[in-house]
């Protein structure tokens, strides 16, 4: 069924094409603008709920009586900013949660969220997003395997630093059959997360009375838990 039987002359002019295209651009962008205004608040609310659910997985609810998602502190380290969520009970920070990123198979990112209590012991680790091979590396998801639970209760002194590796590398953590790169990346990322906690402990725990550390560069040592940071508190 041919449609353009009759084509008025003005349709062949440049001005008509310009107006037509401009008109459609205006209409579509108006529609998008209106839709964005209508959905913006709801989408933000849904994302906040999702965050809350994720945080609840890594921090047991006996640790807090505040709203985890809104009590945050941003810590700037050399190359990036980390947003940490604080779990408070009676005003005291009992645990914090933040994202760490590992380099997975083929250089893709594995984003994890970890929960650490005020002593530096892991409360939970969950994979937030990753692009690991289905059937091999995706065993870091709780829906596929409970491997990631093996981090619960670990800290930088449990096991000792040289034990923070997969068994194949002489460490204490299991690797999966056929996949070493993914668990290795996760172990390294979680260890990095704990070192981050050790370095930024005072800021993370919102300790107003900052213990003055020796004037050496901050290093993630395990012995003295309260140390190093003299930066102004961002909270």
């Amino acid at each position: 069924m041919p449609t353009q039987l009759f084509q008025p002359g003005y349709r062949q002019q440049l001005g008509y094409h310009t107006l037509l295209l401009g008109g459609f651009a205006l209409l579509t962008s108006t529609a998008l603008g209106v839709a964005n205004r209508l959905t913006h608040a709801d989408i933000a609310k849904r994302l906040a709920e999702d965050l809350q659910v994720t945080l609840q997985q890594v921090i047991p609810n006996s640790f807090y009586d505040n709203n985890l998602a809104t009590d945050t502190v941003t810590i700037k380290s050399a190359d990036k900013e980390t947003i940490a969520y604080r779990a408070r009970r009676e005003g005291q920070v009992r645990a914090v949660s933040y994202q760490v990123t590992g380099n997975g198979y083929g250089g893709t990112s594995i984003v994890l969220i970890i929960g650490v209590d005020h002593n530096g012991t892991l409360l939970g680790v969950r994979a937030v997003s990753h692009a690991e091979t289905p059937g091999l590396g995706d065993k870091i998801e709780t829906s596929k395997s409970n491997w990631i639970m093996s981090f619960n209760g670990r800290s930088l002194s449990n096991p000792q630093p040289d034990g923070w590796a997969v068994k194949k590398d002489g460490g204490v953590f299991d690797q999966f059959t056929g996949a070493t790169i993914t668990p290795r990346a996760v172990v390294r990322a979680v260890k990095g997360g704990l070192e981050f906690f050790a370095t930024h402990r005072a800021e993370l725990l919102d300790e107003r009375a900052i213990v003055l550390a020796p004037a050496t560069p901050a290093s993630p040592t395990l012995a003295s838990p309260v140390e190093s940071t003299q930066r102004p508190n961002h909270s």
Binding site: M1, P2, T3, Q4, R11, Q12, Y16, H17, L20, L21, F24, A25, T28, A31, L32, A35, N36, L38, T39, D42, I43, R46, E49, D50, T133, P134, G135, L136
Partner: protein, 233 residues
């Protein structure tokens, strides 16, 4: 001139199927058909966008000129997909968690632009809506079929996580064929998708040829019957 709705339906589902015949939209096809449920989710999203885009483009077909049609179509389709993304995210968030991954993929689904160009820009609105729906349904069938084959071979389940997509009442669809199956990884990776698609395409050709031969044989035998009866008379 009347519109042949039966032909539109046949074309969409089989004769001019998006994947089997037009060979379009293969990129999202390979990417998501690791399970039948994923295929179904993507298919439903594509049906919605195809119907909406065909509807709008068909109703504007008389004011859109030949010279600027492609940018106008692209604008409209991109807007529709973004609107769908926002609306599902805001008000159907549970569904979004399952489908969210697929919605942006529709933008790169060239079958939407293909139908706008080949059909909706030249046909009246009701025919275009039907075409969008049938093309989308035909695509969904292939997605579910391919997803199902790969899922059965790759992980020995069928419709895993269907209840996340369709609600708890559809949990009965989730079937585990072989418990403790070790998995056949190749099928879940893109090469498995190409292999299965190849077999499906070959299967369709064989079936089409068989049907054609059968039809030809029937008409020949009818002819010879007619001749012999005339000869005897």
């Amino acid at each position: 001139m009347t519109t042949d709705y039966r032909k539109i339906t046949r074309d969409g589902l089989w004769d001019n199927n998006v994947v089997f015949t037009q060979m379009l939209a293969l990129c999202p096809l390979m990417a998501i058909t690791t399970t039948a449920t994923n295929g179904l989710g993507m298919g439903l999203a594509v049906i919605a966008v195809l119907v909406a885009s065909n509807l709008i483009i068909s109703s504007c077909r008389n004011i859109i000129t030949q010279e600027v049609r492609i940018p106008v179509f692209v604008l409209l389709i991109a807007t529709l997909v973004t609107l769908a993304d926002m609306i599902i995210n805001a008000w159907l968030h549970e569904l979004y968690k399952v489908l969210g991954l697929f919605i942006p993929l529709i933008v790169v689904n060239c079958s939407v632009l293909g139908r706008a160009e080949a059909f909706a820009s030249q046909q009246p609105v009701p025919a275009s809506i039907l075409d969008g729906f049938m093309m989308g349904l035909g695509y969904t069938l292939v997605l579910v079929l391919l997803g199902g084959c790969r899922e059965i071979l790759g992980s020995a389940t069928l419709f895993a996580n269907a209840s996340l997509l369709l609600g708890q009442s559809f949990a009965f669809l989730e079937i585990t064929l072989i418990p403790n199956y070790k998995g056949f990884l190749l099928m879940l990776l893109p090469p498995g998708g190409f292999l299965v698609l190849g077999f499906l395409l070959a299967g369709k050709r064989v079936l089409d040829k068989y049907l054609q031969d059968k039809k030809a044989r029937v008409s020949i035998s009818v002819n010879t019957d007619a001749q012999s009866s005339r000869a005897s008379a």
